[in-house]
């Protein structure tokens, strides 16, 4: 029941970038200012690019810009960019069908957790985090 370091890194980067949402940030600067291993950050940024959360430009004067204003980036999107769709237990997956699936007493509980988590993440934006709104 823990948040991954990778998600932490992604949020560190996004909150940094949201301090000046129109500027371009070079990977190297993000890495240094937020204490993230450069080459690992590269992989993380690609995921954010692919999800349409940030835009990238190559070459001198290149770097990353937020694709949307911080108030339009919610944590559920960031989570899914990094981890894929949230699944609290594996048996929710079609492939890994558990023997007891038919009458499993646990599923409603995990479902409830899942809804609650997803809800909080969906309602919280990068702006909320930075401005400490709704928290």
């Amino acid at each position: 029941m823990q948040v991954s370091k990778t998600l932490d890194y992604a949020l560190r980067s996004l909150t940094l970038m949201s301090s000046s949402p129109v500027s371009t940030y070079r990977m190297k600067d993000i890495s240094e200012q937020r204490n993230i291993p450069l080459n690992y950050l590269a992989k993380i940024m690609r995921k954010l690019v692919n999800k349409g959360i940030v835009r990238s430009r190559v070459g001198p004067d290149g770097g990353y810009v937020l694709e949307k204003p911080p108030s339009d980036i919610n944590l559920k999107d960031v989570y899914e960019a990094i981890e894929g769709e949230m699944r609290v237990v594996d048996c929710m997956d079609k492939d890994a069908l558990c023997t007891f699936y038919e009458s499993c007493p646990q599923i409603p509980v995990w479902d409830k957790l899942h809804v609650s988590l997803t809800d909080i993440l969906k309602r919280t934006t990068i702006e909320d985090m930075v401005k400490q709104n709704h928290l």
Copy 2:
């Protein structure tokens, strides 16, 4: 953000035992009926014993009994018996102090998740699971 297989195993065992809360269940039977590797189950049961959730007796006619009625066993206790105290992020630990701890914008969010999760677990008992109450 996933529930461990070990916690799943613990809950499978407890829901089985709650079908007849006064009877004694042999480890071997729990293992077979709930599809849990016998020797691994041994480690899990010890944790439940140490937390005072089940009682054990050695020897012929030995086995495990619920220490309390299923309506008095909540999932937070079971979670903590298995995983220790819940920590959504590592920086909540005193030892692993993060560089940005002083002004970390993430902490309020993780705190909110933590409260929400803990709350649901605390309010849900083994009886609720079995009878599908409150769910």
